[in-house]
Amino acid sequence: MNNMARMGTVIKVTERHIVLLLEDGTFFNVQRKADDIPLIGTSYEYRPQILPSSYRMMIKYGSLAATFLLAIMIFTLLNSKSSDAYLVAVDINPSLEIYVSSDELVNSIVPLNQDAERLLKDMDYKKKPIMSVMANVISHSTEMGYIQKDGSSVIELTVVKLNDNNKDILESINQTVMNHIILNNIVAKVRISTADKQALELAHEQKISINDAVNKQGNDHNEQISETTVEQLEDEPGQAPVYKAPEMDDQQETLQIPVKKQNIKPSPASTPSEIERTNSVDLPKENNKSIENKGNHTPEKAPISKQEPHDKQPTKTEQPKKVEQPTGTEQSSKVEQSSKPAQPTKPEQSQSVPDSSAQQREGVINNSEPADELNPEDPLPQEAPGVVEQSIDSSQSDVLPTNPSKQNEQIHSTSLDIE
């Protein structure tokens, strides 16, 4: 009806409309164009803007085509972003295949067994960063008992690059997993490896986990992180399980925190801190020698320990000179305390030691130990136990060499000499 042409008589022309009296006796307002001012009383034909049929067809099909084009564009855009770039296969007991996009967001997770299904039931992983998903997987597995904290569990990870252009996310995954394991106080065997697409396809063909396939192939793939560190820990019988951080120097400091807590409890009797205590008190000269020896043992650290004393020696030697009196002995005893904070009977011991030996000891300590830790003004009682514990670790396991700080090594060697 609205598209029909209408014939009528103009009865009024307003600013916006032309009012027509139509032939059927009705009135009709036509939108007026700017220069269209018909005379009142003249007949007027109103033709709605009807586009030619070809044009209409063009619009019809053009819009249809445009819609399709738009849909395809959106689809490809979405698809390109979310296409799988990596596969991270996780085998704990739950076996998962985590498909990750190029921007390291999880697209999907394929559970390979029932445990995995159970694990994924309450997990929200869609479009979450792979690192946080990995952390979730580990913490959930721990909560659900798939990962035992006693070190009997094995976590196998295989990263497969599904696209050649992708960067390597292995290292970041490795770090995430390690961090999380450590933060959860878990001892576990972690094996991270890479595999290529063919291996994955092969594994899928054989209907086995890619991790198993990688294990079967043995050394064909690079095992980025050796199992040795963790395995060796397990070899130590009767000791509290300690996770030794693998070759990740950057993280060592943070890694020590949980380790300390674990180790304080289990081995109170045989701690070298005791040995060290007796040595430092009763045999100051030997201690001195042993520290010098120790300096020879660790040549990289020796220069530091030697340099600092040289710098500070004038001030240190001045102090005893001033003293040779009760105050001097007090200072030396303070120094001792700082190196052996847990010792309850210190004042007595320091009293029993002659003044000259006290001076000697002071010098010895200055030589052997870094100045900042031995600062008599700041005994750092909290750090000392940590240091001692580290030395326990190093004494208990042969494996630890990369971890402990220089001071630990020094003390450790001291105790050995004494023994």
Binding site: K12, V13, L21, D24, G25, I37, L39, I40
Partner: protein, 243 residues
């Protein structure tokens, strides 16, 4: 003040024009009736939407006033066509004068060439207008109808929304209007109060109030056309009589 709509016996235009020579009120009445026509003509000739504040519209009103003075019924020309002619001539004179003095109206055509084209077009449009003499009588009717409707607060542009879309409804409304005109009391009430006596009409005909309300203005228009049988062309156009 004379209200043509109220008067049951309406004087025709010719007698009014003669009366207007002496009676200023009648002159005013004729001027007010033809004002929409004047402005429409001026706009048409100027090809732009001239307002009453423009000089051209003043020229149009002056031409109308002169037409009242000089129109002779015996001339064989309807009043509206005479008004059109005078307005056209005055405007052409005005355009030429403006053109000569280079004082064009601000919104008017800028170039000389375009002005001359406009003058030619104006002359051509008059020829076309005169060829269509039938419409000229219709214009008088439309002007009269417009003025009458305005007494009821109805504008032409309002009628579209009150028009029934369906032909059956239109026919029903025609019957209702015819019924209404049959009743002198109802017609008297309408003409006196300038309001549709809805309650009385519903009471008499039993029409649904919503039907009346929805098409009230259109019904009034139909009734007014029925009450003005002298509007020959309008009566024919609107087909006020029911089948």
């Amino acid at each position: 003040m004379i209200h043509w709509g109220v008067a049951m016996v309406r004087p025709n235009l010719e007698s009014l024009l003669i009366e207007a020579h002496t009676n200023i009120e009648v002159r005013e009445l004729i001027i007010s009736r033809y004002k929409p026509y004047v402005i429409n003509t001026v706009r048409h000739l100027c090809r732009r939407f001239v307002t009453w504040s423009d000089e051209e519209s003043s020229l149009g009103l002056l031409a109308l006033n002169r037409a009242i003075d000089t129109h002779r019924a015996m001339g064989g020309r309807s009043f509206s066509s005479y008004v059109f002619l005078l307005i056209k001539r005055d405007l052409i004179d005005y355009f030429r004068r403006e053109q000569r003095h280079q004082h064009m109206s601000f919104d008017w055509i800028d170039s000389e060439e375009e002005t001359s084209v406009t003058v030619v077009e104006a002359e051509r449009s008059i020829d076309q207008f005169e060829r269509n003499q039938n419409t000229l009588t219709l214009v008088d009717e439309i002007m009269s109808f417009d003025q009458t409707l305005q007494l009821y607060g109805i504008r032409f542009e309002d009628l579209e929304t009150h028009c029934p879309k369906h032909s059956d409804t239109r026919e029903t409304l025609r019957k209702l209007a015819f019924q209404f005109v049959q009743s002198e009391s109802l017609t008297g009430m309408l003409l006196e109060k300038k309001r549709f006596p809805q309650t009385d009409f519903i009471a008499r005909t039993g029409t649904h109030p919503k039907t009346i309300e929805r098409h009230r203005k259109y019904i009034i228009a139909l009734i007014l056309i029925l009450l003005h049988p002298e509007w020959i062309y309008l009566t024919e156009y609107v087909k006020v009589y029911p089948k």
